[in-house]
Symmetry: C2
Subunit: 199 residues, 2 copies
Amino acid sequence: MAIHYPNGKVYTPKKEQIRINKKDYSFSNRGKTLEDELSDANDFYLSNDIAVIYKKPIPIQVVKVDYPSRSSAVIREAYYRTPSTTDFNGVYRGKYIDFEAKETENRTAFPLKNVHSHQMEHMRKVMKQHGICFLLVRFSAFDRYFYLPFEQLELFWDRMHTGGRKSIALTEFEDLAIEITPRYTPRIDYLKIIDNLIV
Amino acid sequence: MAIHYPNGKVYTPKKEQIRINKKDYSFSNRGKTLEDELSDANDFYLSNDIAVIYKKPIPIQVVKVDYPSRSSAVIREAYYRTPSTTDFNGVYRGKYIDFEAKETENRTAFPLKNVHSHQMEHMRKVMKQHGICFLLVRFSAFDRYFYLPFEQLELFWDRMHTGGRKSIALTEFEDLAIEITPRYTPRIDYLKIIDNLIV
């Protein structure tokens, strides 16, 4: 039923108001980035002895350092370098875990330009060592999360490099990836997916 | 037999000359740091599909970034942070590998102050997940390398915290660690040690 203002105009909730309401739900992501959410999950895993998984620091090339005092160092000139590996790695139940996490505002597909060829190469090498590799994608517009095994990612990657589409459709995620339903603690319990893969 | 100069003085090779001579041997470390040597080993493992092991970037807290142009970023103020984990991790034959590497100029013992309590805590957690953890120590004065399993390191750590010595004697390394003999390629083939542990 439409709500009317006293002046007769139809009330339409503004985007900002919707966002505020969402905060009332404990299950909402409260405006967190995917990285924040995975950091929460990894903290939970670590403190409960479930797994040891960290995000790697961003590699930075330091050029100039000042030493204002003997014990302190201030970096005055440095540059971001392109990471040669994925964002996250660690160990879970004896298994080596290695993955990349990406979020997209796109409502229909995940653009593959978000993944770099050196990351694909890294994951290929990890697979050869029997590590567990995957891509974790958040479609932020719908608050939906997908675990895409590397084997599947590689098929889409190869499709792109043989003239096919340069993205993975949301419908393809629905068909071929494993959806992670947000829950309470941790909200993005991605290791649950792995439990089913390594039994 | 002592060599005499024409003036009758006994010839004693100087340290510098010994160092130059050492460079003639392919097996010498050519003045490399332990980190360089492990980087060489990891490159070798990676390009030969033996293992995927990387040194983690040093965590840096970025405070101020300039953008002189749209595509470039120059970090103008940043600080080194204390790493919460070990230096190296990766995967080898399905096993998660996690270790810290340290060199010492000390000729009789390795001072335990080189290892931080948060690194010990990290390794303890990795052990619970059935990862392979160790400390790799180089006694630079003798060009000797030791692989000390975490279980053993922990005993020395506990000894220190119950009033015992604050270092591990070289003789204790000889007795209780596994010595890595430098060879040709890679010079420090530390994964060979693990082969014997995981057969």
